[in-house]
């Protein structure tokens, strides 16, 4: 109330305590934080756009990469990410409802809606962990050439991608993974892929119905499929068998694609995770009656702002990583 009085008395303007924007210190600072965080996220997304424009002809097509839904086999592009989007918007709604209940000082309702928000956030983080696990594990496998290009394999009749284990047989080999306990200099290497490049070349030669799909996008907006001879020729330049994804190479296409996937969804997932932690703290404060004693629930409104911001960022990540 003091501030309201101060606003009507120009003499006290210089004494501080004015709120010309009618927002408390904490809320203003939350907006400052959100604005700066928005710029960080936009830097991430814009650098994704930069790299994509730079390699526009060979960039992976998102709905050929994210085709998995838990407990279902088959090709379901987009559905799971759409479900995640819906979960996050839904938890945003319960958050606004909590803020609204706070305005009416209904403690138990605030607590219930906060709890639902936390559950929604947890489902989202869990889904993202599953997305990561699927992405890292990979499904089909591919071969990387000397020039760093990824070659995938398709069935000649259907045009669908097929996995390495569908046509490649691993030859007997004495080669084992080099571990740092075996060497003098304590160096080690990554886990060996299931097949060698020579195995894949032999498999391709033995199976007439297998063709190579390159990264190049043709005029119809699809990846180019080579004919039989060109396939064998292209695979002759193979250097690595790639299964799944890591920060160095991935079976989906250009290396930067996986890097941006890990950094952008990872940074966002970290925001959701910290949002859930903050929500849990506020939830317990609500239960303990901290805000009941203060006679206002502005704290719920402030974490609400953060939570909606995380939702807002996901809307953009969804569009620019999965749809466009």
């Amino acid at each position: 109330m003091e501030t309201a009085v101060a606003n009507h008395q120009p003499a006290k303007v210089w004494g501080g305590g004015n709120e010309p924007l009618n927002a408390s210190y904490g809320k203003m600072m939350m907006w400052f934080f959100i604005l700066s965080d928005a710029l960080t996220f936009s830097a991430f997304l814009v650098s994704y756009g930069f790299s994509r424009f730079k390699f526009i002809e060979i960039w992976p097509i998102a709905d050929q990469v994210f085709t998995h839904v838990p407990f279902f086999h088959g090709n379901y592009p987009m559905y799971y990410v759409a479900f995640m989007t819906f979960i996050l918007i839904m938890s945003s709604v319960t958050m606004v409802l909590a803020v609204d209940a706070g305005h009416h000082l209904r403690k138990s309702k605030v607590a219930l809606y906060m709890l639902l928000t936390i559950v929604g956030g947890a489902i989202f983080v869990g889904s993202q962990a599953w997305e990561w696990a699927t992405f890292i594990k990979g499904e089909y496998g591919a071969v990387e050439t000397k020039g760093g290009r990824i070659l995938q394999f398709v069935d000649a009749e259907t045009g669908h991608q097929i996995a390495l284990h569908d046509f490649v047989t691993a030859a007997e080999t004495d080669r084992t993974q080099h571990l740092n306990k075996n060497g003098v200099w304590f160096v080690d290497e990554d886990a060996l892929p299931s097949y060698t490049v020579a195995d894949v070349q032999a498999g391709l030669a033995a199976h007439e119905n297998v063709l190579v799909r390159t990264e190049t996008i043709n005029e119809a907006g699809a990846k180019t499929i080579l004919d039989r001879n060109a396939s064998i020729e292209a695979l002759a330049g193979g250097l690595h068998v790639v299964e799944g994804a890591n920060l160095i190479r991935n079976e989906y296409g250009h290396r930067l694609f996986a890097d941006f996937f890990f950094f952008i969804t990872g940074f966002h997932g970290f925001h959701v995770f910290s949002g859930v932690v903050i929500n849990v703290i506020i939830f317990f404060n609500v239960l303990l009656g901290t805000y009941e004693k203060r006679k206002h629930y502005e704290m719920v409104e402030k974490v609400g702002l953060y939570w909606h911001f995380v939702d807002l960022v996901w809307v953009f990540v969804f569009t620019f990583f999965y749809l466009v």
């Binding site: 924007l21 936009s42 002809e57 839904m90 609204d100 807002l312 953009f316 569009t319």
Partner: protein
């Protein structure tokens, strides 16, 4: 603390009875937009893919437009920007819009330039 909410959306075309109803109304609207986005993303109608507009497919412009609409309603109704003072709202929104638009324009032009340099220059990428 201000408790008043502005209950009209779509420039006053729809007015809700109370704030809770408005929240559900906005949720339905946002879910609808997401459903349209996913449907377009899965079916990819041919004429939208084939029509180029300002260097991108028309479909991508539709996605970006729908995203901005969603962002507007999340910021205005969930983050209560509609109920804030005009000064606060503008200093948040226009700062972000200006800086992000600036950064996007510069980097996308630059990315396209690098692409053309690679495509027309004497650099071999697959060897």
């Amino acid at each position: 603390m201000a408790h008043e909410h502005k209950l009209s959306i779509f420039r006053g075309a729809v007015t809700f009875k109370n704030n809770v109803q408005k929240i559900w109304g906005v949720l339905i609207f946002l879910s609808l937009i997401t459903a349209v986005e996913v449907a377009l993303g899965i079916t990819k109608p041919e004429f939208l893919v084939k029509t180029p507009l300002l260097g991108m497919r028309l479909l991508n412009w539709i996605f970006i437009g729908l995203t901005l609409v969603k962002a507007y309603y999340i910021a205005w109704d969930f983050m209560h920007l509609r109920d804030e003072k005009t000064g606060l709202r503008r200093s948040v929104v226009w700062t972000a819009v200006f800086l992000i638009a600036y950064l996007t324009t510069l980097l996308l032009i630059e990315g396209n330039y690098v692409y053309e340099t690679y495509a027309n220059g004497f650099i071999k990428w697959n060897f």
